[in-house]
């Protein structure tokens, strides 16, 4: 099977978030980057497991981004992907990313396209569905487990309050949630092999980006905790009503 895993680069989870240019640009100063964990731990590893199970096939990772993303891509190769593609652009929206991935994937006839359920920075959860639509593939979001036999896959996905089990045939796209696989730490051999694996840089296709960021805002500061006497119900109700305005 030919498997494609879409990976994105996100700020490291402890990064301090701030904005510049009148709150319209994310301030990258001093920010460390990692591969989006949903892409790395679940999507990529599940694709690798599938290839190992089948004993054949290939796992390609794709990223839409500038050359500064190469270290993140190399990590994917070190974990075990066979080769990588980077669409050389600085994406501003999910739509742009999806258009680029779809344009590349269209020519390649992948059996499965893997995404993380969302990125941990923008939490948009949009790219997967858009790519699948462009490629005319069914899309399963929030996959927590998958078994594959022949070209039939049984996928369990998270839904509100429970889970749903879906059977479908390839080709299809899915987005990976916790449970689909377990994190694999690259070893030194993998890191050295990654240096020799192909990382193909492809120029972007023409795309009018319909969306643009107007501004960012940080969540408001958490206010202090107010301690009340457990007997004083009237005061609690008054505060919930007048200050918190939730009742």
């Amino acid at each position: 099977m030919k498997l494609l895993v879409c990976v994105s680069k996100t700020p490291e989870t402890t990064a301090k978030i701030s904005f510049t240019a009148d709150n319209t640009v994310f301030n990258t100063d001093g920010v460390q980057y990692i591969m989006n964990p949903y892409d790395e731990w679940y999507a990529l590893v599940r694709a690798l497991e599938l290839k190992e199970q089948l004993g054949a096939g290939s796992v390609t990772i794709i990223n839409v981004g500038p050359a500064a993303n190469d270290p993140v891509i190399r990590k994917g190769l070190a974990i075990g992907a066979d080769d990588a593609v980077r669409i050389n652009a600085d994406p501003q929206s999910a739509m742009f990313v999806a258009k680029q991935i779809a344009a590349y994937a269209k020519e390649q006839n992948y059996d499965m396209v893997f995404f993380g359920k969302e990125t941990i920075d923008y939490n948009g959860a949009e790219v997967g569905a858009m790519v699948a639509e462009s490629l005319d593939m069914p899309f399963i979001s929030f996959a927590t487990s998958m078994t594959v036999e022949g070209n039939t896959a049984t996928v369990t996905r998270d839904i509100e309050g429970g889970s749903e089990v879906i059977e479908l045939v390839t080709p299809f796209a899915l987005s990976a949630a916790k449970g689909l696989a377990e994190q694999r730490i690259p070893n030194m051999r993998g890191i050295m092999m990654a240096k020799r694996k192909p990382l193909n840089v492809v120029e972007p296709v023409e795309c009018n980006d319909p969306a643009k960021v107007v501004g960012y805002e940080l969540p408001g500061e958490k206010s202090d905790v107010k301690m009340l006497d457990p007997e004083n119900m009237e005061e609690l109700i008054r505060l919930l009503h007048e200050e918190a305005k939730v009742i």
């Binding site: 270290p71 190399r74 070190a78 730490i185 070893n187 030194m188 051999r189 890191i191 050295m192 240096k195």
Partner: protein, 405 residues
């Protein structure tokens, strides 16, 4: 081997490792992508495999022998040796950052890897015959075999040249007699690289296998340091060591000393890891702990400690990086390595002591890693050449005068 399974399952849930890296001078920019990948991979591995169990292992003086396999899988054994001989084919800086991250977890875990890679695989690679290399190195690299290194004797520590362990020619074998002391990994080792004098009084190196008759490796108990690393003796009573197990060419102290250079180099990096862990913990604690109505980090005396810690860590990072750059060109001298080992280990030990003070009483318990690092570093200050011996090496190098004679 002891079972550490229960400890593992109990503690995996219990403890979260909050460590964050501090890179005050953006030293990361001096590293290649592959160094960063290697470092981050080992850091993740330590958080996953070492941190959850290490306090318990240290508390119970239990060596987590299952980690030998894990260390092999991640590629921590001989990362800078060639791939075809079980190594990782990486450069010396990669080896350094791997040691740093292991020691960030625990000096004992780093010792397990240092011994296997630099003191066992390296001499077999460097001095062994092609048959010896093919026979032992892949199995050592994969963790199937555990090795140890026997140089120190009960009466010859800083002065290994005085050793009395000896071999006598007996046809197709040598007869080995004597004893070694303080040998890391020895009670669990499948083989030992042993240094002994031949009949001409020349130091020779050889590979002694665990089931050779007359060879035993009793454990040394009661260590207050490196408690997660197992240490023992090597006792040889008329052990017949086949001649094919003896390193063919190398004679004299330069054999074992070149292995020590390799391991000391790794320790110069490793100590930074222990220091970073202490600093990180102290910095966090100084922001969380409130006394006299403010976080203790707001007091000048606490700030002095923290500021000096990060200054010393930064200097040590630059020293290690420069040493690594020289080592990559094959230009790091043993005396330069001595300087870095001495400086960086002492730096780490002093930081552990200061960090302990910042943690107040909490720093005394194993809720925090400080006392463990501090006690570990007492060994690191002493083994692979004591703090003072390294000073004398620098002294001899700069004056041209030998203080050992």
């Amino acid at each position: 081997m002891q079972s550490t399974e229960n400890v593992v399952s109990h503690h995996k849930r219990a403890k979260e490792d909050p460590f964050q890296f501090h890179d005050y001078y953006n030293v990361d920019e001096l590293l290649d992508d592959e160094h960063l990948l290697a470092r981050n991979a080992v850091r993740d591995w330590v958080k996953q495999e070492v941190s959850p169990i290490i306090e318990d292992c240290a508390d119970k003086a239990k060596c987590p022998t299952h980690l030998f396999k894990g260390l092999a899988e991640i590629g921590a054994f001989g990362p800078s040796l060639p791939v075809e001989y079980g190594g990782g084919g990486m450069d010396e800086i990669a080896y350094g950052v791997i040691m740093q991250e292991l020691e960030r977890g625990d000096s004992g875990i780093r010792s397990m890897a240092s011994v296997q890679g630099s003191l066992v695989m390296y001499p077999i690679y460097k001095f062994g015959s092609e048959e010896q290399r093919r026979k032992y190195l892949p199995k050592l690299g994969s963790g199937e075999f555990i090795g140890c290194f026997g140089l120190t004797e009960p009466d010859h520590g800083s002065n290994p040249g005085g050793m009395i362990t000896n071999i006598k020619d007996d046809g197709d074998a040598y007869i080995l007699n004597g004893a070694k002391m303080w040998i890391t990994n020895s009670p669990v080792a499948d083989l030992a690289v042993v240094w002994a004098k031949d009949e001409e009084g020349k130091i020779r190196g050889m590979i002694v296998e665990k089931d050779m008759k007359g060879f035993s490796a009793p454990e040394i108990h009661g260590k207050w340091s490196l408690r997660a690393s197992i240490t023992g003796e090597l006792v040889f009573e008329d052990v017949r060591v086949p001649k094919e197990n003896v390193f063919p060419e190398i004679r004299g102290l330069k054999g074992p000393l070149s292995c020590l250079s390799k391991a000391r180099y790794g320790i110069a990096w490793g100590a930074i890891g222990a220091a970073l862990d202490c600093y990180d913990s102290a910095l966090r604690y100084s922001q969380e702990r409130v006394q006299f109505g403010k976080p203790i980090g707001q007091f000048q005396l606490t700030q002095k400690k923290l500021a000096e810690m990060i200054t010393e860590i930064t200097k040590a990072q630059l020293l290690a990086w420069r040493l690594g750059t020289l080592a990559n060109k094959g230009k790091a001298t043993p005396a330069q390595i001595s300087m870095a080992k001495r400086n960086n280990v002492n730096m780490a030990l002093e930081i552990a002591r200061e960090a302990r003070q910042i943690h107040g009483g909490m720093g005394i318990t194993n809720e925090y890693p400080i006392m463990r690092h501090m006690m570990n570093l007492e060994t690191v200050l002493t083994y692979e050449g004591t703090h003072d011996i390294h000073l004398l090496i620098t002294g001899m190098d700069v004056t041209g005068l030998n203080a050992f004679k």
